[in-house]
Symmetry: C2
Subunit: 353 residues, 2 copies
């Protein structure tokens, strides 16, 4: 299996190393062969090649079985014009590879729930999978431009029916593998695109009679995620709503640094990255939390390589490490021990059976 | 002063009556003359006149000094086509009257904070004013239609510079009257409209050197509202982001039923409504919480009539009533007494000095 590593910016380099070590260990245990090639993206690529997404990186990713990404962005590149910003690298690779389905599981670790901003009885038992459409909508619709001599501006929310259908299908399929409840989020009382979205969800629901569907307006969803997070099983929504709601959801458990994400397409090729950012303030200090990245590698094994057992083993090893009381600077476990990126990675390696 | 009452649907009729009683009491105390005229909107108007926003209602509102609205919507009208939905009445009146500035204060009541989904040390001290642009953006941009034989769909996010300027000015002015900190929320790493928004905020900030401005991406704002609500003073953002974030913020204090809102234009004419919905399940039972509506009437006195003292008196009376332990079915105060809509209104009237 060809795996492309895109460390990117800030702590990206440090944590991607951890993922590689864990994958190598799994490979030798199960007799798999993973080959790794590293390429530049984001601010790192701007500094080296003058563009956030070099041709060379695109080509390598097009031939890959899966991609691991650390993080992109940082203050250093914030004043560059839009097309030269680190984020463009990320948006470009998603669009070029057609990675239309963004999976964001949100589940707390019992040893870390005490750090949640929510009361324990509110957050307890929450286990949500947010599925966000990732290559359409306002992010890519044209026109997106100034008008009337610079006195007006438009962005365009465009979706083709097929783009909605494939993500909604993905969501129904995912719900089937979980608790069979799907919440579709839209703004059908205002947007025509949401009305079409809702129609398609209704149509598709006939193909998945075993999945219970509900519709929720995006404003109501933003409330319910906080008041009743354990109401949800799978949530599916369009690109921008998904951006906002998945980030909102990511802080509910109190351990953002632990959350993985997958961006995949139908043939199984995918890009995997932790939800947290590049954290330039702690980069190079050896204290970054590698667990979100390691858990992203586990998602890669599950979704791109169908290696369910291997994925579950990594997830268990991470859980065990926390249960043993080890934590990084972004976390805290009462009576536990704070350790750095390398030690944390070693602990996970030890806990892999 | 000419005040139009639009009770609307569900509990709207009951709570608008409470606001009227409170306003009459204030009027006689201070020697003001308020005249009230009641008109139909929303589902109620659909049932009576076959349209969510009758001509007659529009005319009355155009001649009014201020408008009080109960709530619109309900399952009963959910299957009607888009243009015939109760919400269209609300969107129509906002747009027709040019009520571009939606003010949503979020502040907890100490006797109710225990009901917050957030831990007390997280929510304590929060006092946020969200200012949402209300008549532009994706809500009203054209085209908004099906394309390609119904196989595609577009909505349009359109803003004229002047629409951005006036709401941003309003936000700076509001920040000046508060703690002089303004958070502007956008998605400038993706949307052209957000980049123009951010430019205008930067330009305007020169006119308000006493106000400290920060920019926050909408996804980051959705996180920070939960992890650090007391970081914020005034938040300003465009229509759809404001819809999502203000609803998200409204549940943080644990007493949604208490929150008022104002939708105003530059000459001071405004529409005032509680944040909660029409709650059809408890309509007609006499148990609805009238305090969000009563506090909306206070906002009316402050923003449309410049009656600051009168507004503050109502707010104090509400606070006192809670401190005395009275609450409605949607709330709970330990050792207090649950009462109905009428009794709650009477208690507030008694507490008006
Ligand atoms: C960096 C940014 C363009 C990106 C997005 O909005 O999609 C990020 O917020 C994310 O969610 O991955
Ligand atoms: C009813 C709906 C159209 C409306 C909106 O989205 O503006 C509501 O959610 C609000 O926030 O007042």
């Amino acid at each position: 299996k060809q795996i492309i590593l895109l460390p990117g910016d800030g702590i990206g380099k440090e944590i991607i190393e951890s993922a590689k070590l864990v994958l190598n260990s799994v490979a030798s245990e199960y007799g798999h062969r993973f080959t790794f090639h590293q390429h530049a993206i984001g601010g790192d690529a701007i500094d080296q090649y003058g563009t956030p997404l070099p041709e060379d990186t695109i080509k390598a990713c097009q031939n890959a079985d899966a991609i691991l990404l650390g993080a992109v962005g940082g203050k250093k590149w914030d004043s560059l014009p839009g097309y030269m910003r680190p984020e463009k690298g990320l948006l470009g690779i998603r669009k070029t590879l057609g990675l239309f389905a963004n999976l964001r599981p949100v589940k707390g670790f019992s040893s870390l729930l005490h750090a949640s901003p929510l009361k324990e009885d509110v957050i307890k038992g929450s286990d949500i999978l947010i599925i966000r459409e990732l290559t359409g909508g306002l992010y890519f619709g044209q026109p997106s431009e100034r008008r009337e001599n610079g006195n007006a501006v438009v962005d365009t929310l465009y979706y083709h029916r097929s783009e909605m259908e494939r993500i909604i299908d993905k969501a129904f399929q995912s719900a089937r593998l979980r608790n069979k409840r799907l919440t579709s989020v839209d703004k059908a009382n205002v947007l025509e695109s949401s009305r079409m979205w809702r129609e398609i969800v209704e149509e598709k629901s006939k193909d998945y009679p075993d999945v219970a569907v509900e519709h929720l307006l995006v404003d109501a969803a933003a409330m319910k995620l906080i008041t009743q997070p354990n109401h949800f099983d799978v949530i599916v929504t369009e690109n921008l709503f998904g951006d906002i709601l998945s980030d909102e959801a990511s802080v509910l458990t109190g351990s953002l640094g632990m959350l993985p994400s997958a961006s995949i397409r139908s043939d199984g090729v995918g890009l995997y990255e932790p939800v947290h950012g590049s954290a330039p303030d702690i980069a190079g200090k050896g204290i970054a939390n590698p667990l979100g990245m390691i858990l992203s590698a586990a998602l890669m094994l599950r979704h791109s390589f169908q290696m369910e057992e291997e994925a579950a083993e990594i997830e268990e090893a991470v859980n065990e490490t926390l249960e043993q009381g080890y934590y990084t600077a972004d976390l805290h476990i009462k009576g536990g021990k704070q350790i750095g990126t390398k030690e944390m990675t070693e602990m996970v390696l030890e806990n892999l059976t």
